[in-house]
Assembly symmetry: C2
Homo-oligomer: 172 residues x 2
Amino acid sequence: MLESSGRTEHREPVITRQNVTPKPIDAHEPWMRGLHADTGYLLYRLGLRSGQLFNACLQESGLRLRHYAVLRFLATSDGALQRELSARLGYDPSAIVGLVDDLEKLGFAERRPSPDDRRSRIVVLTGSGRAFLRDTDEAGQRVTGELLGPLDPAERETLHALLLRIAEDGLN
Amino acid sequence: MLESSGRTEHREPVITRQNVTPKPIDAHEPWMRGLHADTGYLLYRLGLRSGQLFNACLQESGLRLRHYAVLRFLATSDGALQRELSARLGYDPSAIVGLVDDLEKLGFAERRPSPDDRRSRIVVLTGSGRAFLRDTDEAGQRVTGELLGPLDPAERETLHALLLRIAEDGLN
DNA sequence: CAACAACTATTGACGTCAACAATTATTGCT
DNA sequence: AGCAATAATTGTTGACGTCAATAGTTGTTG
């Protein structure tokens, strides 16, 4: 970006106006003062923490979060074209290639030719892939438990429900 | 990682293919409960989406989310050592260097020598930095509103409260 | 039916970004 | 004075996203 090298298009900030709304914080929102005033920003930070914890947890298996995402998707819809994985998971098609390569090397998934379309490949979960998922699921729940430490079960449930709503909005 | 929705918004993939989801989800099998069964994993994906939206919003000013985080922290505790920024924001010290460099280039912050310790530098927000924060705050709330679309105000508040609790647990 | 457009998986190049080690300057300790 | 610890910084490495290009395949259309 505009790092020290500054060779890319060098956008000028253009924010010369100070007028703008006085932005009354209102006693209505007391948390508007701190770093985590904005829910979106909060989500971003917590997402990072969660990802780190998950990655640390998966690290001992040689996989990363992205692999886990693929495995999980394969578990829900048994057999998926790489094109689907790309679209639904949001990864670039070129990224899917490497991920499936890795999973195949570990014996967790395999590519099978599609009967209808010879350019497509159907990625399916193997037995050991399913077993791996079963094993890591409990580790994942341990991590989640650690992350959600200060929340009691009922609160966790409502949190999950709320997050699920905003997740499904984006048609994940 | 850039999860799904935020990215190629211009054109929808339109999965005309097959519908591989007979998908008998068995709630008794945790690893089969779908992609977003785990709250931690859900948080991870939503955090990415949120980050994308925020970044897209800040992009026009030439800054990124990390810059915004620094600015916000500087606004709350006027004047901070880079070491503090690193510790409280969770970024690596080496990352702080570049971020403060950028902010300095844009005139939003400046490094001042510390009177007590000559190896430390105190980073302070400038007037235009403060103005910039004021301006972008409203954009941030717009993004957050977009992200939290399906939630009514009361739900948003409870979500924010819950997230805040688990955020403060990690001494952020 | 033959040419052409669209699509799938794949590879490669390029820039970005975050985590880690190493360096320099400075301080505190003993 | 000597030495460990600390603040800022640089450099390096590996992961990641984006884009462009290619080969093989399918569908369409003139």
